[in-house]
Structures are given as C-alpha cells and as structure tokens.
Symmetry: D2
Subunit: 259 residues, 4 copies
C-alpha cells in the first residue's frame, strides 16, 4: 500500500533559526525512516483563546521563513489560512493549504483555497459529523481543487473536552479522499487552563497508534525541542527527540494492520 505520510512541525513560527532547526531534524528523520514528511507551522494563530496570547510573525515574514524551510530541507511545507484574502499568497509559498476546523464550512475560504491549485487539507469541524464533510469536498472540487485531504482532530464531547470518533476515518475515506489524523489537537482540552487551551501529551501516542491501526493515511503531530517553551499547544506536543521512536512504532503498526 501507500506509505504513511507525516505532517509535522512546531505549531507556530517563533524564530527563523528555531524553525529551520526543527525542519532539519524532520528532514533527517524522513530520510532515515523513508517516511514522507510535510513541514507545518503557522504564521498567525488567529483564534487563540485570549487576545494577549502570542500569534506569530505575521503573513509576510511567516511565508518567507516557510519558503526558506523548503529551500533548505527539500521538505514540502504547509500552513493554515483564516480569511479568503490570504489564500493566494499562501498558495504561492506553500505546497499544501490547511483550513482550520472552526472554518470548515466557510464557503468563500474554501473556494479561495481551491483557486490556488494546491492540495487543500480541511480539518473536520468539532461540530460536524464525518459525513457532513462531503459538502466540504463538494465545494472544493467545484472550486477546482484536485487534491482534497480531510483531517480528524476531535469532536465536541462536553464542555472543554474533545473525543475522536475513529469511525470518522473510514467514513471520510469513503468520500474518496485521504484522511489525516491530527494527534496533537485531538488531545486539546479547550479552555481547560483558564485563559489558554490545555492538553494531555501522554495521550498523543496511544491515539496515534489507534488511528494508524484503523487505517488513516497521514498523521499530523506538533513537535518542539522543548514543548514547555512553545507559545502555543505545548501541553500536547511531542518532544522532538521522542518523535522518531514514535514514528517507527506507527510504521510497524501500519504494516501489521495490513492497510
């Protein structure tokens, strides 16, 4: 079958040097384990819980750094877009566009992403059934997108908690598209830390193993050399030096699952 795809990176771009350093580690791992990697980092976290939180370097500087990552490492790069007017510039700089879960139903944003000609990875809204994503696929395809990916990142399960319904993986694959499992945001606890979003890092690996055993096509994992220093999503990130062992485990499970 197809190899497992890994989408990984540090959530938000902090400095150019740190971003490049993480990307180089990921590129080395990609080579050593023969696993394709797409590098992901955000230039602007537009929906942080609180207005005082760090948002990132902004669009121009962020896209410049992502292009530098691609040039330096050879890894394809992806980032998320939040308003329609951002799509064209992101499509020029990045190999894949990502649409956040809260925005999965914003028609104009989907159409603008489709118009770039790039693959578009849409996270299933926390408020949507897997089958509802067929309308998202429909809007993208009508807009000219030829490579749609859908992403499971958790569904609302009572205030401050998400759950992965792993039936979503085969159900969204049945729409004819590859499915990504976002192991980092699935273990978020929205609002769980008062003015920030909490999380449970120790659940990332068991749930990623589950997603791979079910047959997911790609896994998205945020990683950082020192997660507790990350300005966003630190509580649910995998430390960079623990990532290769985790990925090797996932590759073994994929083979055993016969996917």
């Amino acid at each position: 079958g197809e190899p497992l795809l890994l989408i990984a990176g540090p959530c938000v771009i902090q400095t150019e040097a740190l971003t490049l350093s993480i990307a180089e580690s990921l590129a080395a791992m990609s080579q050593r384990l023969s696993v394709p990697v797409v590098f992901k980092a955000s230039f602007d976290k537009a929906n942080r819980t609180s207005s005082g939180a760090y948002r990132g370097p902004g669009q121009d500087e962020g896209l410049r750094i992502l292009e530098k990552v691609r040039d330096a490492t050879g890894l394809p790069v992806t980032t998320d877009v939040h308003e329609s007017h951002q799509a064209a510039a992101v499509g020029q700089a990045c190999d894949v566009l990502q649409v956040p879960a809260f925005l999965a139903r914003q028609t104009d944003l989907l159409i603008a992403c489709a118009a770039t000609g790039r693959p578009v990875n849409v996270k299933k809204g926390q408020f949507m059934a897997p089958g509802d994503m067929k309308h998202v696929v429909g809007k993208l395809v009508e807009g000219g997108c030829r490579d749609v990916l859908l992403c499971e990142r958790g569904t609302f399960f009572g205030y401050g908690r998400l759950v992965n319904d792993f039936r979503a993986i085969p159900e969204m694959q049945a729409l004819g598209v590859p499915v990504v499992y976002d192991a980092t945001h699935s273990v978020q606890e929205p609002g769980g830390l008062g003015g920030a979003t909490g999380g449970r890092r120790e659940m990332v690996e068991p749930l990623a193993r589950a997603a791979v055993a079910v047959g997911v096509n790609a896994v998205f994992l945020e990683t950082h050399p020192n997660p507790d220093d990350s300005p966003s999503d630190g509580p649910n990130m995998v430390p960079l030096d623990k990532l290769p062992a985790l990925v090797e485990r996932l590759l073994a499970i994929r083979q055993a699952a016969g996917v």
Copy 2:
C-alpha cells in the same frame, strides 16, 4: 425590569419588497405590544451546507435594503459579518453587528467589529462552554466595543443535533452582558436533510418560553410570511402571522417570572 428585546426578520434578504413588507409587520407589532424590535436579515449566507444553495443579494445591495428598512420603519437593523473586511461597511449601515457561532473565536473579526463602535452580538460557538465566552467579551472590550451581547443558539449534542443548555443564560449574564436566545437556530438539525439543514418549528415556542422563564434579555426569531418559501432555515421559522401571539405569551411569562 428592562423590557424584553426582540430580534426578528427573514433569515436572508430575498427581494426588497418582501423584506420591507416583513419589516413593516414587525414595526406594527412593536408598537402594538410595546416591545422593542431589531430587524435582522443576512445579505450573504456564507456557510451554507452546500455550494449550490442561495446565498443572498451580496453586501452592497443587502446593506442598501437594510438602510431602506430602517428609513421606512424606524426599526434598528442588524446583520451578520463573516470576514474582517466587511465590518466597516456593515457598521456604517447597521445599528448592531452579529458574529456567527462558527466564527466566535476569530480574533481579527471580533476586533474589526469592535472598531466600528457599534454594539456587537456574538453567538456562542456550538463547540464552546458558556464560560469560554469571557475571552470573546475580553477581545471585544479591548477592541473598544462598549455594548457586547452574547447569544445562546445551541451546543453540539451528537452528530446532527444541538441542545440548549439553559444554564448558559445566567452563566453568560454573569459575564456582565445581556444574553439573547436564538430560538430559530437552536432547533436546527445540522445536515439533517442531506444537503441542507433541517429543523423542528414546533419546538421554537416551547424553547423560547423556557429561555424567557430563565430570564434571558432578548429573543431572536426568524419569521417569514410563508416559511416553506424561504430559501434558508424554513423548517425552523415562525410564520409571520403567528408571531404576535407568541410574543404576547413570552411577555406574560417574563412578567410572571419576575425577571
């Protein structure tokens, strides 16, 4: 105490004539029942389930019609904004801005709405706890908004279903802002009709009665002379000729509840 506020209108603007006719009925009811009414209609339904669905007349034509409604009837008007760049123009034409539930956490959109100087009514995300709305209030206040309203319109309760947790009314009022109950969208059944959103009109009145008995400050209701002809939300709209009796009932309950 304060009088109950009613926000009402036909969901989406179809024609100028129909929009004016509905507004005139609402203005007459406002006078007769001494209930303040804000007229609401959308110029663009940007997150319809399917891409083929009717979206509205667009921003320029829509805002022109809303201004005409205000001139003709004296009712204040409101509409919803979906991207930051729309806020300024909507703020010029309308008395109140409304932020959709899916977008309740988009910082840039909230800031742009606050910058208009108008009151801003934000619907609680279907994926949010009532208490999480304190960050929404915080972002608006920091952005200069002096009149924040929050709106309960249902919380995700399993695929294709919403539930009103009526504890949300006192919990959001405890943030120091008035709370609106959206009786129309609370009875939506997202994705319930395949490529459209279903709903249960017969539940609008019981749930609106409940919200008023709990002590909500305002009720939002979509209405149409012939709901089955509405291009959006027809299944959960109140027929225009049934609205006055419903409002009278709500006023009586508010008085009995001693709110």
Copy 3:
C-alpha cells in the same frame, strides 16, 4: 388546565422525626398554595458513588416511616425501587413507585412495579433519547400499569455533566403520559466532587422555571431544612424555607404559559 403537581422531600430518610417534620412543612404549603404534593424519600440509596456513603434506614424501617408520614400528614408518598423483589412491599406502603434512571430499561423491575397496581414514575435514563421511553411505557402497560409517569432528569453531556434537553417534555408527553421534571438531579455533576456527586443549587430555580414554561405536568424537588447536613444530594437541594416562594413563582409561570 390541570394543576401543577409537586413531588418533594429530603432525598434519603435520616430520622423519623426529621422526615415527619419536613413532611408537615410540605403539607402546610400544599394547603396554603392549593398545590398537590407527593412526599418522596428513599429508604436505600443503592447506587451511591462510593461504598462508604450513607445509604438509608433500609426497606422495612423506611417503609414504616413513609406510612407514618402518610398517616400524619395526609400526603401521598413515593419512594424508589432498585430490584424486582422490592416492588410488592413498596407497592403496599406507597402510593406511587419510582424507578431510577439507571434502571429504566430493566424489564423485570418494570414488570414487578406494574404488577403492584400503583402508578409508576420512571426516570428517563441519562443514556436514552426521549422517544426511547415509548418502550418503557409499553412494558409497563403490558404489565398492567394504568398510570405511567415519565421523568426528565438530565442526559449525559460529557463526563461529569448532565444537560436537560427540554424538547424531552413535549416529546414524552406525546407518548400519552404526564411528565415530571426533576430539578434536583438535573443539576447533579456526577463524580464532580471526587468520591461523591456534586451539584449547583443556584440552577434549580431557573431550570424549574424553564420546565414549567415549557409545560411540564409535575416538578420534583429535593428539600431539606439544612441541605448542607443532608447525607446525599445536599449540593443541589432547595432549603425548605425557600421552597414556598419558589413554588409560587412556578405557579405564576404556569398560568402565564397558558398550559
């Protein structure tokens, strides 16, 4: 229309003297407000969170005290049954039998309750849709019960939290039976206090007001002269001296709602 019925009492029987004293207060209120009251107290809390918690005086002593309450006050009495073998004795001593929510689908228990010839009040399971209760009604009617009541007491809404879907009231009434609203257990927070169940007393009144505005037939409220001394459900009980004002409010709302 029919008067609102009140089911009230102290959750679990502590002493005979305290039980009688509460019942006398309720009987006086029943007379003064012309509201029919059924007295409820448990003789055995068979599903406490922890095994060390107080369970009650047991069946024989508990039923003796309930009969004394009826003799002394003239109020009809009700209590809950947990296993089939208890039904006959409870049916001899009590006017109404109550089936706990966790046990709503236990066929033998329902049949044994029906066989007593008494009215049976079944709480909707926290894991059931309102419409699923039609099978509960069916089992009771086949078993010979001629007075079925159903009770809304909250539905699972994420770990440690319940929500009232108030659509359940008309939906269960549509099965042809009166519906009770349990305002005390609806505000439970199961497991919320570690080894006990927490709750939010301040939400009892707003939610009871909502249920009455929707049109419920009866309200169930636990009450105690000093809730913080109650061995069970203290956090969600109404203080006995606050109950009459609350009931008067509910009666006014019922009249305004035109139910």
Copy 4:
C-alpha cells in the same frame, strides 16, 4: 508481555446444540492461534428495548448449558447477572461474572458478585467517565473480589449513538486492573431500528484494531455462524467463519504495538 485475551460467543443462548457448536469452533481457534478464549453467552437479556423480544432460556437452563460448554470444550465461561439474587448461582456455574453497563453503579449487585470469589468484569456505564470506575473497583475490592476487570463498551454521544473514547483504556488500566474492549456493543446504535437496537458490523474490526493498538488487555466480540439469524445484536456481530482472520490481525497489531 501478556497474551491478548479473547471473550467471545453468541450473545444469547438459543439452543444447546448451536451453543456447543459455536464453542467448539472457538476452542479450535484458541488452540490454533494460541489465544486464550473465554466463552460468553447470556441466559436472559433482561434489558431488551422491547418487551416482545426473545430473552433467552432462563437462568437454570442457561447455566446448565454453560457448564456443558465448559465440560465439552475446556473453555472457561462467563455470563451476565442483572439482580443480586442471581450472583451465587452464576458464580457456581461460571468462571467469570459480567456486570452490564447500565448496572455498573448498583452497589448490591457488585457486592453480591464479589462474594462469589470469581473474577468480575464490569462494563463502564455509558453515562460514566473512565475515572468514575475507581469507585466500582473499590466496591468490588471491599466486597472481597481479587480479580476485577473493567470493560469499555462505548459512551453516550447524542441520542442513539455511542462513541469509544480510547483514552479510557489507559485511564482504566491506571486503576490497576486489566481492561476489556467490547467491540460488539461499542458499535450499537441504541434505538436505531425503532423497537430494536441497530449496529454497524463493518466498524467492529477497525475499532478492535484501534483498541489493541492502544494496548487493551482483552477483546470481547460476539459471533454467530449466521448473524442475521441471531435474535439479538445480529447487526453488530462478526460471522464465525470470519473471526480467525480478524483475531490473527489483532495479534499482529498487538505485537507491533509492543504492548
């Protein structure tokens, strides 16, 4: 590590001949794959949705057949108990007692099961958090049980639907007990077929794979030579001739997961 345990059988006992025939197939598979198997079948389905549904042969006849299964095949046997008075007899006939999810909090039933001296497998209530099961373990241990097992079989996720929160597996294992994954009842759709419970057989294997990848200790699967002929749970059973391939897959995943 420990081998994966399989608990399997035909849901409810139909005839002695059919029960024995299924057990012999399972015993042969147990030998061939070196996987320990416990045979499970119910003698009385006491909480069927409708009262007209087939419930089983009853306690005496059912236990006689289960003992015969053990004698004929050498497999240990298990069945479920619904009221305290059944525990002693079941404990005499069976190697393991099973407590249904609806009854997970019934203290008397747990104590009666513990008193048999047999291992007790309690299904987590659909209305309980994984951590709440610590009180269940506590009640059993206080009652003298030395082998507690806990079982994940789905949590309420909106009317008529369950979801597996796979974090429950490590969370319940952290209570110091082995955890079973019930792949059959997790895919139930309660009330989904009107007067019966529906299900989705095609989801049994992906979800069982996920549970094993996460590190569950045992898998419970209902099986039948012709599931569509089963009087209960047919829609979510695995055909008996498909079971060995599924189990081999699970064993491979367990090894790859390094559990």
